[in-house]
Symmetry: C2
Subunit: 406 residues, 2 copies
């Protein structure tokens, strides 16, 4: 008898959690499990701001997928997904095609650019390992170039971060640690460097209480970050950003050497290409994480959309929700393979959120309690290490975890 074939697309938080749980819950004879991913490594999306700022080497934010999968149970295929053909139960890859009985779509998000002119060409987005190390090198190159030009151009040293959400603020936090190092490395005075944060929203980090946000902005301002809230990016040019105050017409130009775009993500374009009903690449999934009208297809992680019943708004895409979905998805796949139809419903258990503000500082809400300062920073490292533990156990934590030696 042919074993059912489970194909998981994407080895991010959701996909990799699904596979690592699945390999524990299911026998090797019960199902064929195939994991498809673009790279041979998984990366910690929530750590990319550190690799981008250059405060953590990019090899520290990724690990080889083969290190955490049981290769007697799971087959890893390195490939890029090009299309999903639901009618044929088939996935088209850049290097072949693959049939499935059960499919898990965990392809992550794309950057949302809102059609802003020049954005794709001139701005950098903190999206993956390749992007992160390019950002690090771009900023280093700007600093290295400064003293090698006949006319010193201070604008080269201005970094504009568009987007005061999680990624933007965490990146700025790392930059405030990194800039003094870059100044030393390239003989630049700190006063020459400008860090600017622009966001359309009137306040940064809208998900947090005002007193936590004030703590965060005061801290970053004290380290030289200039905030432009309620400000829209109209255009990105090679050496500047055009902004305007919301509701006003007056354009202002900020000359700069680097523009980082961190103002939002959308679901994966593969979702849109594959003809499933979606909202900006995200699919509203059933309680059991399957998609309407398709009993053998799950969507989890950033491509899925689940409404928070309390606020009546979608939960934002986070690593935490993706990992919890992966756990439920794995259990439900086992039930389906076993011919059971009492699938588990997914309920998000919000354990809290911590936003890092650089090496030693953070703000957060954990188990309903507000925290800030060094205790929040320690909690952030706990959260980061927990993600490693969930996928790869103690050995992965020891290899890639974040520890501070006192």
């Amino acid at each position: 008898m042919r074993k059912p074939k489970i194909v998981v697309l994407g080895a991010g938080y959701g996909g990799l959690m699904t596979v690592t749980r699945l390999q524990k819950l299911i026998g090797g004879n019960e199902a064929e499990i195939i994991l498809v991913n673009k790279n041979e490594y998984h990366y910690e999306t929530t750590w990319l701001h550190e690799a981008s700022a250059g405060t953590l080497h990019h090899d520290r934010v990724r690990y080889n997928i083969n290190k955490v999968i049981q290769r007697n149970k799971v087959q890893f295929v390195k490939a890029t997904v090009e299309e999903i053909k639901f009618d044929k139960q088939q996935v088209i890859l850049d290097n072949g095609e693959i049939d499935y009985d059960y499919l898990v779509i965990a392809l992550g998000s794309d950057s949302e650019t809102f059609g802003i002119q020049g954005l794709e060409k001139y701005a950098y987005a903190i999206t993956n390992v390749n992007a992160a190390r390019q950002i690090r090198e771009h900023i280093e190159y700007q600093f290295a170039t400064y003293h090698n030009e006949n006319e010193k151009n201070d604008d080269r040293l201005t970094i504009v971060v568009a987007g005061a959400g999680f990624t933007g603020i965490e990146f700025l936090g790392e930059l405030t640690n990194r800039i003094p190092e870059l100044c030393k490395e390239y003989d630049v005075e700190r006063s020459k460097v400008r860090l600017v944060c622009v966001d359309a929203s009137p306040m940064v980090l809208p998900q947090f209480d005002r007193d936590l946000v004030n703590y965060a902005t005061s801290l970053l301002e004290s380290k030289g970050v200039e905030f432009y809230p309620g400000t829209i990016v109209q255009q990105v040019k090679e050496d500047s950003v055009l902004i305007c105050k919301k509701g006003e017409d007056q354009l202002q130009e900020i000359k700069c050497g680097t523009v980082i775009w961190s103002a939002g993500v959308r679901g994966n374009c593969i979702i849109e290409k594959s003809g499933i009903e979606n909202m900006r690449g995200r699919v509203k999934v059933n309680h059991d994480l399957r998609i309407p009208d398709k009993d053998n297809v799950f969507v989890i992680g950033d491509c899925s959309l689940i409404i928070n019943q309390e606020s009546n708004r979608p939960y934002p895409p986070t690593a935490q929700i993706a990992m919890q979905q992966g756990e439920v998805c794995a259990k439900n796949l086992v039930k389906l393979v076993h011919g059971q139809d009492n699938l588990e419903s997914f309920v998000f258990d919000d354990k809290g959120t911590v936003c890092s503000l650089g090496e030693d500082d953070a703000i957060g809400v954990v188990f309903g309690k507000k925290i800030k300062g060094s205790s929040a920073s320690i909690m952030k490292k706990v959260v980061d290490n927990r993600a490693l533990f969930m996928v790869g156990g103690t050995s992965l934590v020891l290899k890639k975890g974040k520890f501070k030696l006192f």
Copy 2:
């Protein structure tokens, strides 16, 4: 009675050697010594290829001038020289002016660009610490960009070195060590990277015997360097170099991400601006290193021109000759201050030359004997350490010297 004022322009090999010898030979009451330099540090020009390739950190190739001068005898002025007014015995600086009784011009060389189109705009020259670290960062940025583009552009990974003289060959030697590291860092296959060396001359390193040169080119070719001898660079573009075989019209385009220009230097432009008779910024000096018709002005180092009586051609500008000139210049300054007119004649004592081919290999001629391989490589480190010793004694060698720990 007013002390005579000795002004030394430039803290390269020649200027710094002059000053450090002078401070040993002359009493603090006998003369005022002023050293003018653009940066507060001296750098080892002959090590810049390593900093450019990224095999040695740029802080290892420079040291603070204040560490090697006796500040009770020598006053250091950080300034850029703009002009020399011989009639007024005055030097115009970017931040003031300075009178002299005796002047030593040791301003080093400028890059010789031969008016090639696009060269200044798009090519990088290994000229100083600022340039070296910019080259390192530029190459790293090319590698970092490779995997972050939708269409992979292998040409980004091609590095063209124009000039197969000392600097070009030594830089290529370092690159052959550095490229595998960059490939690992940025997940690039070694086979994607091209290293190309173009030179107008029919042979590389014309100053060496053919069997040494064959050793060098075979070694570099075995590590992937492609040589285009007898080939002229016609134009440098943003992403390519146009070359043609000497004596032919047919242009060939080499697509590339980096062009390094190492095909020659000329004397300093200040020499030309100041109206002294010169050949491409170099002044033919008298035997005592003074310039014709000016009894109180010495020119040493790359700005000076001395004919090799054997070959009837000028000695090439090297650190070795500059340092030997600095020693004689210091002695002659002391004689002038003491009112003696029996100045010493400079005779170049060629101790040999070693050309590095990367970390563990080199070719050279030392005390008339040809050497190659690891023994030559060890000798190269001896030569490098000797330059430090001559200026700053044992303590500088221990701080900045090159040692290999077996």
